[in-house]
Every structure is written in structure tokens, then in C-alpha cells.
């Protein structure tokens, strides 16, 4: 299905049904998050088919642009509205993620949905993604990072285990 080893990309795809003669056809625009252009186009037609009476055979893509991430060094709180199919039905969700880019947050969302709900990417629909102000965030995991004097130690820090020291005389120190 969708192969997502790296971060997803954001595409803005504009398409329309093919004109028959001189008729003016409606034009539709979608924002799709996908690993590459091919999957993006495929998902575009998948959604458009569900929403409007137009198929890839009878339509054309007018424009497809990859959207770049704005302010990639500013940390933002993203609210993502998702619709996904579980084993026994379809559900809406509102999820929050902290990230530096929209694509990063969406990628986190897909990973998170897979982990927490065993939802595969083909059953997830991203309805909306928005930057949420810190005061308007709802999830405690996100809110806990909004402390201006945030500070925590790294107690009992276990770094990559050095196989050369499997058996040692003294217990190694985990103080950072």
C-alpha cells in the first residue's frame, strides 16, 4: 500500500473532470500527504471519486505542486482531525502533535495511529491539519511542553550498549 519509511510530503493537487466539448468543468483542489507524487495522485483520485462523480479515466490533473514547510525551525502545536476505519466501524478523531513542520506532524500521526489503533495508512483520512495556539491545545502530553521554564534531568541514562563490556568488574555509571 503506502510505503512510509521517510517523512511524508505535502502535495496540493488540482484536477477536474475532462471537458466534453465546450462545457466548463468544475475544478477541484485537494491537499494530500503522501510519500511521493505517484501515491499522491492515486489518493487524489481515490478521494475525488468518493466525493464527486469523476474518475481518473474521465478526469485530468491540472496542477500538482509539492508544498514546502513554512518556518521549519519553529516548533508548533498541530491539531489534526482524522477519520479512520477500525475493525468494527469508522471513527473521527482529533489528535495533537508537536513538531516543526506540517509533514512531520502528519507523519507522526500515521505512526501514532498505527501504534495505538493498529490503523493502516489506507484506512486513515486526514480531514484537516491546523496550527493550534498553545493555550488552545487539549492534550496533556502537548500541554506539558508549554512550560517556559521547562527542565528535566536524564536519570539513569542508558546509551547504546558497548558489547565489549558485557562482563565488567563494576557496574557502569548511568549518570549523564
Amino acid at each position: 500500500m503506502k510505503f512510509k519509511c521517510a517523512e511524508l510530503k505535502e502535495f496540493e493537487i488540482v484536477g477536474r473532470p475532462l471537458p466534453k466539448g465546450d462545457e466548463k468543468m468544475p475544478v477541484y483542489k485537494m491537499t494530500i500527504f503522501a510519500p511521493d507524487e505517484i501515491v499522491a495522485k492515486s489518493r487524489f483520485w481515490y478521494f475525488l471519486r468518493q466525493l464527486k462523480k469523476v474518475r481518473k479515466v474521465n478526469g485530468e490533473i491540472l496542477r500538482m505542486t509539492e508544498m514546502s514547510n513554512s518556518s521549519p525551525t519553529k516548533i508548533k502545536n498541530f491539531g489534526i482531525w482524522v477519520r479512520y476505519d477500525s475493525r468494527s466501524g469508522s471513527h473521527n478523531m482529533y489528535r495533537e502533535y508537536r513538531d516543526v513542520s506540517r509533514t512531520g506532524a502528519i507523519t507522526q500521526c500515521y505512526r501514532d495511529m498505527a501504534a495505538r489503533h493498529r490503523a493502516r495508512p489506507h484506512s486513515i483520512q486526514i480531514m484537516k491539519i491546523e496550527v493550534v495556539k498553545a493555550a488552545d491545545t487539549k492534550r496533556p502530553v502537548i500541554k506539558q511542553m508549554h512550560d517556559s521554564k521547562i527542565k528535566f534531568p536524564l536519570p539513569h541514562r542508558i546509551l547504546k550498549f558497548n558489547k565489549k563490556s558485557i562482563f565488567v568488574a563494576d557496574r557502569p555509571s548511568t549518570m549523564q
Partner: protein, 126 residues
């Protein structure tokens, strides 16, 4: 206090894994429990790093959360972070390890001879 080094805004970190290994930066903001926004001199710039890519130093500077790169760099210069870093064991050990890795075969042989075979070392010196 049991813990002296904290993950906090302004903590100077040494990068121990990844593309920027050996360089150091300042924690400017925290993305989540496992990711930091680090900023530093030209060599690094501003980027997100994972916690395990980073080792904490004893150096901490005073910067507001999420401040601009220019502010970070002037604060680093004002507090003399570079000089303090050069004195930390993390940086020294990395430099030594790096130097050892860069040695050529003859240099390694000279060290070997110098340690255990003084007559050999004398002959090389001639």
C-alpha cells in the same frame, strides 16, 4: 542536588551521533520528550535533534526560549562558550579519538614502537 545537568533552555550540548558529530550547540527549545531544537555557530545552524544524539555538558547560558539564531550566537560569544567547551572532557576525548583515527600507518607504527620497542623508536628517529 543529585542531578547537575538538565535538559533545559540554554544548556550547551555536545553532539555525539549523526551528521554533526563532534560539534556543539545550545538547546533553544524542546519539541517533545525526545527531541530538541538546537542552535549553534555556522557549523550546525538550527535543527532538531533526538535526545540520544546529544550529550549534556556543564555549560549553561541564559537565553529566552525559542530565540533567534543571532541571539543565541551573541550569547554564546558573550559567555565564552567555545573556550569552556574546549576544556570539557567530552570535547577533549572526541578530539583525541578523532586524531587517532586520522593517523596514518607510519604514525601508528611510531606510537607502537615508542611504547614497547625503544630501540626501534631510536632507529626510526634517525
Amino acid at each position: 542536588m543529585l542531578y547537575k545537568r538538565y535538559i533545559e533552555i540554554g544548556r550547551v550540548c555536545f553532539i555525539r551521533l549523526g551528521d554533526d558529530i563532534g560539534k556543539s550547540g545550545v538547546i533553544v527549545d524542546l519539541v517533545d520528550q525526545k527531541h530538541l531544537l538546537i542552535d549553534g555557530p555556522d557549523g550546525i545552524g538550527r535543527k532538531v535533534l533526538r535526545l540520544n544524539q546529544v550529550a549534556l555538558t556543564d555549560i549553561k547560558i541564559n537565553i529566552p526560549r525559542g530565540c533567534k539564531t543571532k541571539t543565541v550566537r551573541t550569547a554564546m560569544a558573550k559567555e565564552g562558550v567555545e573556550a569552556k567547551l574546549a576544556a570539557t572532557s567530552l570535547v577533549k576525548k572526541f578530539a583525541a579519538k578523532n586524531a587517532k583515527a586520522q593517523l596514518g600507518d607510519f604514525a601508528r607504527f611510531k606510537i607502537f614502537a615508542g611504547n614497547s620497542h625503544p630501540e626501534l623508536a631510536q632507529r626510526i628517529a634517525q
